[in-house]
Amino acid sequence: MDVRLSTEQQALRESVARVVDQLAPHAVGEIGNAERTSKLDAAVASSGWRELRLGDDQGDPLATGVEAGIIAEEFGRGLADVSFLGPTMAAELRRLAGAAQSESAETVAFTSDLSSIAIAADGQLSSFVAIDASGCSRALLLAARSDGNFLAEVDVASDEVGLDLTRPSSTLGSPASLEPSGRSISDDDLMRWTALGLSLTCADLVGIMQGAVQLSTDYASQRRQYGAPIGSFQAMQHMLADAFVMMEGSRSVTLHAAWAVDALHPRDAVGAASVAKAYCARAARDVCETAIQVHGGIGNTWECLAHVYLRRALLSSDIFGGAGNSLDRVLQHYGIGA
């Protein structure tokens, strides 16, 4: 047992952090700026970070859930406004199905409440949505057939929807003929895939919490009232201390969930990831709410980054289900579920 990051994993974190700190938005007005996002997108593409879950010759992923989690966390911390989660989940789906690598940038489609992957029974796509769709022209979903669930592709429509300013969702294009490819996706495959998705959304939430705590700590040190920095008032200090501690607890469960993706039986990997997601989803909302409160009136304006963190946190929470859904999974895993 040694849950410290390896030297290579630390180096990966540093290189992702460098890219994010240089090219991700530092103010609300910069979000969606095409010149900057295309540079960020190019840097991410050239590093191969979205391909980590493609299969090697044996069908094993090129990197573990831990490496993928490191990237997700840094993207969350820096509010990176290019896709990562969607393409990574698409790559994992192709790997599990043994399907050929895609030519175009692609993401995955979910039910519109985002609680589970889209499974099309009759070519009807209206109730589905593609997550994390920026720059993606296609989305993967499952097509249900009598002999199992198969991977299928659809076009992504260009209209962006959803709450997260950094990771727009998208509606799906006209129902293509759902042409299945690869092997059928087994229940175990789907569990493994879910464990990866839960753990990556947790990592994103940990990063968001870190970013939100940093933003608020900086502000509390500068902003003065009553002739003193507001960060010297004990009420502010205690809220921020709680936020920091929640982030640390979240980090511990998330590291375990990321490791479990590849190291444990899929059922236990989902159990570990559900514990993590319940903890992180609850914590992240609290932490982002604290960020808004610490900023006072400004925290309630569109121009303050605090709500960008909150919105991103709400999206990451809802993907695969938030605190409540995750707690249900935990109860089931411990044999006391309804």
Binding site: M1, D2, V3, R4, L5, S6, Q9, V66, V213, T217, A220, S221, A228, P229, G231, S232, F233, Q234, M236, Q237, H238, L240, A241, D242, F244, V245, E248, G249, R251, S252, V253, L255, H256, W259, A260, A263, V275, A278, Y279, L327, V330, L331, Y334, G335, I336, A338
Partner: protein, 376 residues
């Protein structure tokens, strides 16, 4: 990065598991029952005798000289078998290892670790709680001895202890933090009287108060030099805030397992809100277990005596208090008389945000020393 056992760790885990089959004394939960404390000394000696206590301390003082992560393996196995948790005294050992000279270490550490000698900690006073540095107990040099007079309170295990680690003022002239020294004082002497206090859950073996009336202690029992008591105290309290040092993961897991078992055998006997209260406690306890794995892994880089203990203390407190609520919810209150273990587990959990420095003090420390927020 690996949460799994190495071959050596897994061999150790299985050996401990096998040993526990024949050696679990089946004591009640430590936090609710005086009977636990009556059996605790024998349990300590038995665990130590079999080589399952003091995993990371040097072999010269009775430790096993292994990496700290073995401690969490012990906690997990103790909980899985329903055995009592390990004795919570690692913080004393860490403090003495860091600040005691060779003589002090050789005289006292083997006795603490083996369970041959019992210790208590005389820091808090009626007028010096959170503001510990304002303590007034004084120690005055007389020949080869110091003579101690003052009043300590909330002293855990004062009734059983042979030794008390006392903070006392040896210099009245200097700034308050700098005039404090630390002594290892023999409890059984005419100048000391102790009296157990009763906790809100009815226990009398948790803490007591101790009156020092010209008690004597040899000057060679001072840990560190005169005026260095504050530094020792800060090292000790930083580790007293770490669940990995206290072994509380075993205690919490044991309680959560028991509550889970109750729901499993009688699923229709509980409302959804009760089961969800338990669910959150499961999540918290699991978080703490994994957090301890992380912290003890970090010790492979060397031990730190820094402010992270305050982060851990808050996580541990939230865990214990969420578990307390789950115990209240699932166990209920025996209004007509009967088993009141769950109620007492809940009531005891309220102390966790006070002992070892209150939650407010931990937040002050996180804000100032980790976040670097300006002081008021």
């Amino acid at each position: 990065m690996d949460f799994g056992d190495s071959p050596e760790e897994s061999e150790f885990r299985l050996r401990l598991r096998g040993w526990l089959q024949g050696n679990n004394p089946g004591l009640p939960t430590s936090s609710t029952d005086d009977d636990y404390w009556k059996g605790a000394a024998a349990w300590h000696r038995s665990l130590f005798g079999a080589g399952f206590f003091g995993m990371s301390w040097p072999t010269a003082i009775g430790g096993q000289g292994l990496p700290s992560v073995y401690d969490v393996i012990v906690d997990e196995e103790l909980a899985a078998s329903g055995a009592p948790p390990r004795p919570s005294l690692g913080y004393l050992v860490q403090g003495i290892l860091e600040h005691g000279n060779e003589d002090i270490q050789a005289r006292f550490l083997p006795g603490i670790i083996s369970g041959r000698e019992r210790w208590c900690q005389g820091f808090s006073e009626p007028d010096a709680g959170s503001d510990l540095a304002s303590l007034r107990t004084r120690a005055d040099r007389q020949g080869d001895d110091y003579v101690i007079t003052g009043h300590k309170v909330w002293t855990s295990y004062s009734d059983d202890a042979e030794w008390c680690l006392v903070l006392a003022r040896t210099d009245q002239e200097v700034a308050k933090h700098r005039g404090i020294s630390a002594f290892v004082v023999p409890m059984h002497q005419p100048g000391i009287e102790q009296r157990p206090l009763r906790m809100i859950n009815g226990m009398t073996k948790e803490f007591g108060e101790v009156a020092f009336n010209e008690a004597r202690v040899p000057a060679v029992n001072m840990i560190g030099g005169p005026g260095e008591g504050w530094r020792l105290a800060m090292t000790i309290v930083s580790h007293e805030r770490e669940p990995g040092e206290l072994g509380y993961v075993a205690r919490y897991t044991k309680v959560v397992n028991e509550l889970t078992r109750r729901v499993r055998v009688n699923p229709s006997g509980f409302r959804e809100d009760q089961v969800r209260d338990l669910g959150w406690a499961i999540v918290e306890v699991e978080m703490l277990r994994l957090h301890v794995r992380r912290r003890l892994s970090d010790r492979l880089n060397g031990i730190s005596h820094g402010p992270e203990g305050s982060v851990d203390k808050l996580l541990m407190t939230w865990t214990e208090q969420s578990l307390g609520h789950a115990a209240l919810s699932i166990g209920g209150i025996a209004h007509g008389g009967g088993d009141d273990t769950a109620l007492n587990t809940y009531l005891y959990s309220r102390a966790q945000s006070v002992m070892g420095g209150t939650s407010q003090i931990q937040r002050n420390l996180v804000a100032g020393r980790i976040l670097g927020l300006p002081s008021s």
